[in-house]
Structures are given as structure tokens and as C-alpha cells.
Symmetry: C2
Subunit: 118 residues, 2 copies
Amino acid sequence: MANNFTKTSVKDAGRVELHDALSLTGAEVSINALPAGASVPFVHAHKQNEEIYGILDGAGRAEIDGEVVPLAAGDWLRISPSAKRRFFAGEESGIRYICIQVKENSLASYTAQDAIIG
Amino acid sequence: MANNFTKTSVKDAGRVELHDALSLTGAEVSINALPAGASVPFVHAHKQNEEIYGILDGAGRAEIDGEVVPLAAGDWLRISPSAKRRFFAGEESGIRYICIQVKENSLASYTAQDAIIG
């Protein structure tokens, strides 16, 4: 496959990481799934990376610096590097979500300012 | 809301851009939908930004530097800045997808190397 693009296909699974599969250079993207009653078994923060979470299916909650944030499909979050975070599925609902890691303040311009049309 | 996180909720719509809604600093993320038979009405490339596309629902195709790439739910693509791209829904299926714009080569480290546990 030429260097102009890479492609992969993600089947439903516990966690899939796309950085190496797609040769990403500006982000890590993972697809994550927790069954009902489950949680990521640790709290974490980041050194440099902003995280962006998008809830695909189901429901649950995040705990961010001690604040409980209810989550349902269609919700999106930005979390600052230093915030301590942990994710939980609902008691009676699993949750599936995308997590995007990017270096904080790395975006210079975007959309119309970065585009070349035609 | 404190600076440690921001949250928004996306309802089904034609296109939603999250950069300003979430105060993103390392990416622009958009959620896009094309009805059956529709397409983005132009070809575009980028100056600095790598794009990462994830197909949420439906089917369609991308044309990347003249190559036809079939797309279905669960497919993910990385497209280099200079590649000329255009997205199409299927003739009989709409398509819904995420587009992530990040600055090429901006990611320094990620996951375990960037994480602080506990």
C-alpha cells in the first residue's frame, strides 16, 4: 500500500490500538469496550498528551479528579494531561468508546486554514 | 466547568465539529454523515495535517489519489497531508464517520510512555 494512506478494519473486541496498524504520526487512537459492571482497573494521568474520548455505545461514567461524569452514547470529552481519570461501564450496561491521544497544544491550524481544495 | 475537562453531547446531525465545543488543543474532531447517494462536493488535501477517519455506520467509499477505497463500519484510515481525498456514501446506504485532524509527526510519546499511573 502506498504511503499516501493506510487502512485497517476493527472488529468488536476489548481494546484495539491503531497507532501501529495505521502508522499514525500525530495521534494514538484506541477503541475500548468494558462489559457491564467493569472498569479500567487503575487511575491514570498523562505527561504531555491531551485525551479526547467519544462514547460509541452503551453507558457508564468517568471519574475525573474526583468528579463523577455520567457518560452515554454521543458524549465527547477532552481531558487535560494532568487530570486523574478512570472509566467505568454502567452497572447494567457495557460501554464502548474511542480514546484519542494527542500532544497538548500541537495543532497549528485546521479545516479551512489547513486545507487545499481541488 | 474546571479546565481539567470539557464535555459535549453530539446528536445525530450532518456534521458536528468538536474543536471549539471542547476547547481542543491537539486535534480537530468532526462527526460527519452523508445520506445514500451523496458525497462531499469537493476533493481536498492538507498543508500540515494527517487525517484519521473511522467509519461508525453504513457504507461508502473514499477516492484517494485516484484509488477507490471501499468503506464499511469499523474501517479506519490514515491519510497523509498531501493525498487528494473525497468521500462518498454508498448508492443505497448512507455513511457516518469520524474525522480526526492532527499535525503530522506531532506525537512524541503515548500510552505507557506518556502515562502516569495512580
